[in-house]
Symmetry: C2
Subunit: 561 residues, 2 copies
């Protein structure tokens, strides 16, 4: 059976998966080195994080296209988290513990079926955070790009560090950085069009992807040939023997304790950002993403990273898109990518020692800035000014205060907006569209009114946030109809009534009864009506319930509550 | 003009207001002494809080029936707040600062129009808290009732203190306490019926209200005659000369800082509990409560308390009900109550010295326990198990951890339930009720389906909490209808679409289009449609918008998005 499946796989998807793996590796080699540097870790940690974690994800995850491994946004959050480690603990040890905790958090979330918590990060929060993180990442690489001794992960720390830096910049390093930046930027904007003149577009696209690797190779060659280190250019330097070994992360209780808050936050971001990438690609291919399988895949990948000397990982948007474009068919592509990375590591250990850090910084800056998009800001500005404020606020907080603050405030603000939305329902006096059984807002449509009966629609569930207003809102409308003896509430917008809403409904009926007005309901939804019956509302509700608002206004065919 | 109004008032409401003031004072004298004791303050502080604050509320508030003054639940929260005062600061000074801060918080809330924040306390949280506070209050008075040296405001502190108490109980004190408890309880349960045999019920009710005052008088007489103090019975003791003076509360920065969190919490509870009392009484009388005026009235009352040596105040449910029953017509009743209290203070200073603390404790226990109601627990258990859990959890936390924890966790839990509700919308496949233009859930009603067209109703707004599920939910329904070429979403339950929901709608249309299925919408509400147009959805929406779902299923008379 197994060998049969393998034979079928060989004849079908093997070729496509191998090609995709090669193309992704070309991107992954420079990125894994660069994102390790961004996190403040030795470069080989990024390479280690691109081996076993990919195999673990292939075994446990669900998406055939997600490009797992080091990710820029996560690297920034890791750098901020590692600043919290106890004194005397190495960065790498702390990163291993962080990866282990992230893996455990994700595994726990999969076990407890907490994948719904992903919805806490609304689109404005997520986009605002990603934009802010992009800017912070680019900012954190600026000192490296020009050979400054300044360091930092947010606007205030970078500026402060630069202000006191002993070496504000190094001309030769800045030259390497500037040229690499120019080459990478130009290749991204123009190389594909240029290559397309000579060869068919798909092949040109494939070739254009080698540009970052060529820039790195050129920089290594140049730095090696001219002895750049002697001229003060910071190089990646000799890597230790590339021999990842399996070992438990250090068991230091204080270190584990300090990493917990960051681990929770990074786990949430890793999960949600991977889910967003996976869903958008799955949609293009007509596939589905299973959120819980993604949790398990990411949990496995991060635990594998913790055991094999890597750093926390997630799905990279750029690599996933490339993976999909290159034709990846199954999760085996991830395994092949890991194999390619292992081979590359054996061959690259020596030459990488000559790579200038400034060139890596240029790689990072171009990679993250190319993903910058202002379209969501424009949309939010036009559509909902308050959600735009959340988006912009989260961006600013990310740049100024770091990820934890930005995400915390963003989630709280999203929830506050939702509460405000439910607290201030839109209320419409409704009338019949002539010649139909359909009732709409009298202010917007030409409608017929029924004398003596007031038809109202309150566009919200009856919840604790608006329960106190219910009576006021109805009385206000009633005050405009002196002779009314009946109010019919159209309940189609009422998706739920909580205990507070139930009490408010009872109070409303009492107040209306005191004025000699009867309260009837129409189009009460099944689940809502079930709840009202369970609450024993028959003991106090004196009105009738109508299947349709049309019948309700006529007063025919109602049933007692 | 003014004298004219006074003349009209004299001929109309004066008599009723004076009677109401007398009746309320009879309740207020023992309660103001007792609640000061409950807060850990000297008894005269409760009396001071029953003078000027009532006048300030009459000047600024809106309700003619609210019985302002010391309140049991607030007294418990004050006791917990005063435990946070810096060392070396007196309880009374801290209480004055607390009252001043509560007044300023309420005034600020009135100025910023934050009265909507009252809705954060849902019915389950409020009732759970009030029940828990009632139990804590009764518990805190048990040691005083039996003459123990133990003290505390929560179950763990009372039990711990009792365990280590030097004097676990004093027989004679316990006798005073027990007899007072019995007398008060019996008078509450049977006195009215007994008196009704001899005189008409309204007059009997009036007489029955004097029972607590008589019990106090009897205890004072007995303790004075037998020299109870010499036999080890703790008495209230000599009061300082009852001469309230106007003075600013102490300006100690550290003290002001430490009281801030408690002040915010107590201000919220004072406002919401007063609002609930005011609204329920106003409803009976066909009046309206203006939330913002209540904020101003309570702000004035608390600032007056801070300036005149009192403690934080709010509206008492029991005194407000009595006030309304006794026929209070205008807020002048509050001013008369204050005058009565001033007179009483002059007459009572001497005799009060002989009052045993155990009798005051009995007054508190009977007053709070008589308000205990389990009906809301039963309702919540039947209606919404999760809201029952919030109610019970808040009660338990109040008894075990104190008010701050209980209210914080309760508000967070209410919000979490609301998020969960919006995250898991009920979805219905809908069909036409034969012979009508009305569409209902196919699982609950006998309906007619339209071949090739799937009508769906998603019972929730499209929000970030459910945006990620939207496509899944629709695809699941579509999978059961192989030949469908059109999906019509009935949008009447969609009260709002946020930016995340907008993106989800676009993704849904894309996914349907990939399967050759068109997405149409029906009964989109005016404000929602306005928003969609503002967002420029015409650039991507390919379906049609139908005024009624009936037209949508027929595919007639739709307009382009």
């Amino acid at each position: 059976m197994r060998s049969d499946r393998w034979a079928r796989y060989r004849s079908g998807a093997l070729h496509d998966d191998l090609i995709a793996a090669l193309v992704v590796s070309v991107l992954l080699i420079p990125q894994s080195l660069a994102y390790a540097q961004l996190a403040g870790l030795p470069p080989q940690v990024g390479l280690y994080a691109s081996l076993l974690p990919l195999v673990a994800y292939a075994a446990l995850g669900s998406s055939p296209v997600l490009g797992i491994g080091p990710v820029a946004v996560l690297a920034l959050m890791i750098a901020q988290a590692l600043a919290q480690r106890p004194e005397g603990v190495g960065m790498h040890d702390a990163a291993l513990v962080l990866a282990a905790e992230i893996g455990l958090v994700l595994a726990g979330a999969a076990w407890l079926r907490l994948d719904a918590l992903a919805s806490l990060l609304s689109v404005p929060v997520l986009h605002g955070f990603e934009t802010g993180a992009t800017l912070s990442i680019a900012l954190s690489q600026l000192p490296l790009l020009v050979g400054s001794s300044a360091r930092g992960n947010s606007l205030p720390t970078v500026l402060g560090s630069w202000h006191h830096a002993q070496t504000p910049w190094t001309p030769l390093t800045a030259l390497y950085g500037g040229l690499a930046l120019l080459a990478l930027w130009a290749s991204r904007r123009h190389l594909l069009d240029w290559l397309s003149r000579w060869s068919p577009r798909p092949r040109a696209a494939m070739a254009a992807r080698f540009a970052p690797l060529l820039v790195l190779a050129a920089a290594i060659g140049c730095a090696g040939a001219t002895g750049a280190a002697q001229h003060g250019v910071a190089l990646v330097g000799e890597l230790p023997a590339l021999a990842p070994t399996l070992a438990l992360p250090p068991l230091d209780a204080e270190l584990w304790r300090r990493m917990v808050p960051s681990a929770l936050l990074i786990a949430l971001v890793a999960f949600v950002s991977s889910l967003v990438v996976g869903e958008s690609l799955a949609r293009r291919r007509g596939e589905r993403v299973v959120a819980r399988r993604e949790l398990m895949g990411l949990a496995g990948a991060n635990l594998a990273a913790a055991l094999s000397g890597g750093m926390p990982v997630a799905a990279s948007f750029s690599r996933s898109v490339v993976n999909a474009d290159a034709g990846s068919r199954t999760r085996m592509a991830g395994v092949f990518t890991a194999a390619t990375m292992a081979l590359a590591m054996l061959l690259l250990a020596k030459p990488l020692a000559w790579l200038p850090e400034a060139v890596l910084a240029a790689t990072i800056i171009v990679a993250v800035l190319s993903g910058l998009s202002l379209a969501p800001y424009r949309l939010a500005w036009r559509y909902a000014r308050s959600e735009w404020a959340v988006m912009a606020g989260v961006t600013a907080l990310t740049v100024l205060q770091g990820a934890a603050w930005a995400l915390g405030v963003g989630v709280a603000a999203s929830i506050a907006l939702l509460l405000r939305q439910t607290a201030r329902p839109h209320v419409a006096l409704i009338g019949r569209i002539p010649g139909s059984e359909h009732f709409r807002n009298a202010d917007r449509h030409d409608v017929e009114m029924t004398p003596g009966v007031v038809g109202l629609r309150i566009d919200e569930s009856l919840l604790f946030t608006n329960a106190r207003e219910l009576t006021d809102v109805v009385m206000l409308q009633l005050a405009r109809h002196a002779g009314a003896h009946r109010v019919v509430l159209l309940m189609s917008p009422v998706n739920c009534i909580d205990v507070s809403g139930l009490e408010a409904l009872q109070a409303l009926q009492g107040e209306l009864a005191a004025r000699g007005v009867r309260l009837d309901l129409s189009e009460v939804k099944g689940p809502v009506l079930d709840g009202l019956r369970r609450a024993g509302w028959g003991r106090w509700f004196r009105g009738r319930v109508f299947l349709s608002h049309h019948q309700g206004m006529l007063g025919e065919h109602g049933s007692d509550g």
